[in-house]
C-alpha cells in the first residue's frame, strides 16, 4: 500500500501542476464553444447570431385588454421569447427604426384588429421585415401563424357562446355578454398556451447549457494530458519488477485526476451557487446530492481521459481523440442538434452514450434536483476504467492483474 500511496501523491501533485493549463483550456473551450454555437446558429438560421432583437408594433389599441394580452402572448412564445422583444411605437418612429436596423420588423395593426378577428372581419396585419434577416422571418412567421391559431380559437369560442345564447332564447342578454365572453375566451386560450410554453422553453435552453458544460468539461480536461501521459518504459520496468499491480497503478492515476478535476469544478461551482443569480430558472444548490453529481460527472470524464491516454500512449493523439469523441458523442446523443433531426439508429445509440447520461445528470443538477443517475454513471466509469486496465495490460504484455 505504501507504494500506491506514494504513487497517488505524485500523481496528485502532477495533476495539481497542470491546473493553470486546465484553466487556460477552459477559457479557450468557452471561446471555441461560443464560436461553434455562433456557426451553428448561422448555418441553421442563416443569421449572424442569436442575439435579441426588437420588433416594432404599431397600433392604436395598445391600451385595450385584448391587445395587452395579445402582446403578452406573442412575447411568451418559445421562439420569440428567446430572441425578440416587442415594443409599441408610432408608425413614423417604427419605420425610421426599421430603416436604421434598430428593429428587425414592423407590424402594423389595423384599428380594433382583435375585435375584427373575433367578429369575422379578419382585417390583415401588415408586416415589414428588414432586409436579409431570414431568422426574423422564421420567428415572425411562427408568430403570425400562432397568433392566428389562438385568435381563431377565441373566435370559435365567441361564436359558440352566441349560438348557445340564441338556442336558449337569451338573445337579449347577448349584447351585454359579448364583452365578458370575449375576455373569458381570450384568457382561457392564453392560459393554456402559456402553460405549454413554460413547460417547453426551459428544457430546451437547459439542454444547450448542459451540452456546453459537457463540451467544456471534455475540452478543458484535455489539458490534463501532461499529467496523464504515460511514463517511460524504464519507469514501468522498475515499477513492475516490484510488487506493483497494473490496475492498482492505474487506479492511483484515475483517483488523482478525478479528485483534482472535481475540486477544480467545485471551485467554480461553489461561488456560482452561493453568489450568482443564474438565468432561466437554473438552481445551483449547495446540497450533498449536487456535490455528488459533480464528483460523479468528473469521474466519468477522468475515466474516459485515462482510457484514451492508455489506448493511444501518446498525449497529442489522446487529446485529439478526446475532443473528437466528445463532440461526436454529444452530437449522437442529441446535445448539438435535437434528437428528432437524427437518424433513428443513431438516436437509439446516442441515448446510451456517456454524453447522454452526463447531459441528463447535468440537467438535474441545473434544476437543483436531488436525483442522481448513479447506476448509468457508475457503469460508464467502471467500463472506461476496465477498458483502460485491459488496454494497459495488452500494451505492457503482462498477465497479472
Amino acid at each position: 500500500m505504501r507504494l500506491y500511496a506514494r504513487l497517488f501523491r505524485l500523481e496528485f501533485k502532477k495533476n495539481l501542476r497542470v491546473v493553470p493549463f486546465v484553466a487556460v483550456g477552459a477559457v479557450l473551450s468557452v471561446f471555441f464553444i461560443g464560436l461553434l454555437v455562433m456557426l451553428a446558429s448561422k448555418s441553421m438560421y442563416q443569421s449572424e447570431h442569436l442575439a435579441r432583437a426588437e420588433v416594432a408594433l404599431v397600433t392604436n389599441d395598445a391600451e385595450t385588454d385584448y391587445m395587452k394580452q395579445a402582446i403578452r402572448y406573442i412575447s411568451n412564445m418559445s421562439s420569440t421569447s428567446l430572441s425578440l422583444d416587442f415594443k409599441v411605437m408610432s408608425e413614423e418612429n417604427a419605420m425610421r427604426a426599421l430603416k436604421q436596423h434598430e428593429v428587425i420588423a414592423v407590424m402594423l395593426f389595423p384599428d380594433d384588429v382583435i375585435n375584427g378577428i373575433l367578429y369575422g372581419r379578419n382585417d390583415p396585419i401588415t408586416v415589414y421585415f428588414s432586409e436579409d434577416d431570414s431568422l426574423s422571418a422564421v420567428f415572425l412567421s411562427e408568430l403570425t401563424w400562432s397568433g392566428a391559431r389562438m385568435l381563431s380559437a377565441a373566435q370559435a369560442g365567441t361564436y359558440s357562446a352566441a349560438e348557445l345564447y340564441t338556442t336558449l332564447g337569451a338573445e337579449a342578454e347577448l349584447g351585454k355578454a359579448y364583452n365578458d365572453i370575449d375576455i373569458l375566451n381570450f384568457n382561457y386560450v392564453l392560459s393554456r398556451e402559456n402553460l405549454y410554453i413554460t413547460e417547453e422553453t426551459l428544457p430546451v435552453f437547459m439542454t444547450y447549457i448542459a451540452s456546453a458544460v459537457i463540451l467544456l468539461l471534455f475540452f478543458s480536461t484535455a489539458a490534463f494530458a501532461p499529467a496523464l501521459k504515460k511514463e517511460n518504459t524504464s519507469f514501468y520496468d522498475v515499477l513492475f519488477s516490484g510488487k506493483a499491480y497494473s490496475c492498482l497503478y492505474l487506479l492511483t492515476r484515475f483517483l488523482a485526476n478525478w479528485l483534482v478535476s472535481a475540486l477544480l469544478l467545485l471551485l467554480v461551482y461553489l461561488p456560482l451557487a452561493r453568489f450568482a443569480d443564474p438565468p432561466f430558472d437554473i438552481q445551483l444548490r449547495l446540497i450533498p446530492e449536487c456535490f455528488a453529481d459533480l464528483f460523479l460527472i468528473c469521474a466519468v470524464t477522468a475515466a474516459f481521459a485515462l482510457f484514451l491516454h492508455t489506448l493511444t500512449g501518446s498525449a497529442p493523439v489522446a487529446i485529439l481523440l478526446q475532443l473528437l469523441c466528445s463532440v461526436l458523442m454529444l452530437f449522437a446523443s442529441g446535445g448539438i442538434l435535437p434528437p428528432a433531426f437524427l437518424p433513428s439508429g443513431l438516436r437509439a445509440l446516442g441515448q446510451h452514450l456517456p454524453t447522454a447520461i452526463l447531459s441528463e445528470q447535468l440537467l438535474l443538477l441545473l434544476q437543483g434536483s436531488r436525483d442522481i443517475l448513479l447506476l448509468p454513471l457508475l457503469g460508464w466509469i467502471v467500463l472506461f476504467f476496465a477498458a483502460a486496465c485491459i488496454t494497459f495490460l495488452i500494451r505492457k504484455g503482462a498477465k497479472r492483474l
Binding site: R2, L3, R6, L7, L10, K13, K14, R17, P226, E231, N232, T233, S234, F235, D237, V238, L239, F240, S241, G242, K243, A398, K399
Partner: protein, 234 residues
C-alpha cells in the same frame, strides 16, 4: 581482476527461454551468478542482453525460468527479490516533472520516517545528491539523471545491482564518475551485474559472460581488445 575467493554463494538460473515472435533471443539458458562478483554480460546489439537483465530483475515475465537463491525462487518471490536486487534500466526510471527527492521516495521501500537515514547511507552519500534533492529531474543533466537513477536502486541498499548499460549516452567525465560509483559499490562486497558496449567498463569487472546466438558463455578471464571483438563477432 578482483579477488574471487570471497565468493561463497551463488544464484542458480535455469530454464530461461525467451522469444520475440520468431526471434529466439534466449535459448534455455542455465548459468550461475557468483555473489560478490562484478559480472558483465557482453554481446552484439539485439543479442538479448537487456531482455536477460530485465528477466533477472523481474521486470519481464519468463514462464518456466527459475532463479534460485538460498532455496528460494527469486522470480516467484517478489518481496524477497525486490529486497535484495536493485535494477537500473538503460533509460532513467524517473518521473521527469517531479523532484529528485520525490523520485527517490517513490522507489524507497521503507517508511517515510526512515527515508532521511536511507539518504545518509554511505552508498547514497557517495552519489552526492544532497544539493539536488529539491530539483526537478527534467532540469538535470543526463549524467545527473543517471546518478539519480542509480540512487533509486541504491536507496534500498540492495545486495545485487543489475544495471543495463551504465555509461550509455554519458560524456567521458560522467562515464568515469559512474564507473567509480560502481567500483565503490562492488568494493563494499555487493554483487554487480551489468551489460555494456564500453570496453572501459570492463576495468571494474571480475566475471565476463558473452551472449551469442541465444547462449550465454562464461569466459575464463575478462577479454579485452581485438580478442574480445573476435569473440563477440563469432
Amino acid at each position: 581482476m578482483h579477488d574471487t575467493e570471497r565468493t561463497t554463494e551463488i544464484i542458480q538460473v535455469s530454464g530461461l527461454d525467451y522469444s520475440y515472435r520468431k526471434n529466439h533471443v534466449l535459448d534455455h539458458l542455465q548459468f550461475t551468478l557468483p555473489l560478490g562478483e562484478s559480472i558483465a554480460i557482453l554481446g552484439a546489439n539485439g543479442s538479448g542482453k537487456s531482455t536477460l537483465l530485465s528477466i533477472l530483475a523481474g521486470a519481464r515475465r519468463c514462464p518456466g525460468a527459475v532463479m534460485e537463491y538460498q532455496g528460494h525462487d527469486l522470480l516467484k518471490e517478489t518481496k524477497l527479490r525486490s529486497s535484495i536486487i536493485g535494477y537500473v534500466p538503460q533509460s532513467d526510471p524517473l518521473m521527469p516533472d517531479m523532484s529528485v527527492r520525490d523520485n527517490l521516495l517513490l522507489w524507497y521501500h521503507g517508511k517515510r520516517s526512515d527515508f532521511a537515514a536511507a539518504l545518509s547511507a554511505p552508498s547514497m552519500q557517495m552519489l552526492q545528491l544532497d544539493g539536488f534533492l529539491k530539483k526537478k529531474v527534467n532540469t538535470l543533466s543526463g549524467g545527473m539523471r543517471k546518478r539519480v537513477s542509480l540512487a533509486t536502486a541504491l536507496i534500498n541498499a540492495p545486495q545485487i545491482l543489475i544495471m543495463d548499460e551504465p555509461a550509455a549516452a554519458l560524456d567521458l567525465c560522467y562515464k568515469a564518475e559512474m564507473r567509480e560509483y560502481l567500483r565503490q559499490f562492488h568494493k563494499e562486497g555487493h554483487t554487480l551485474i551489468l551489460t555494456t558496449h564500453d570496453e572501459e567498463d570492463l576495468s571494474i569487472i571480475s566475471v565476463l559472460y558473452l551472449l551469442r546466438g541465444g547462449q550465454l558463455q562464461k569466459q575464463d578471464r575478462v577479454l579485452r581488445g581485438d580478442e574480445l571483438l573476435r569473440e563477440i563477432r563469432q
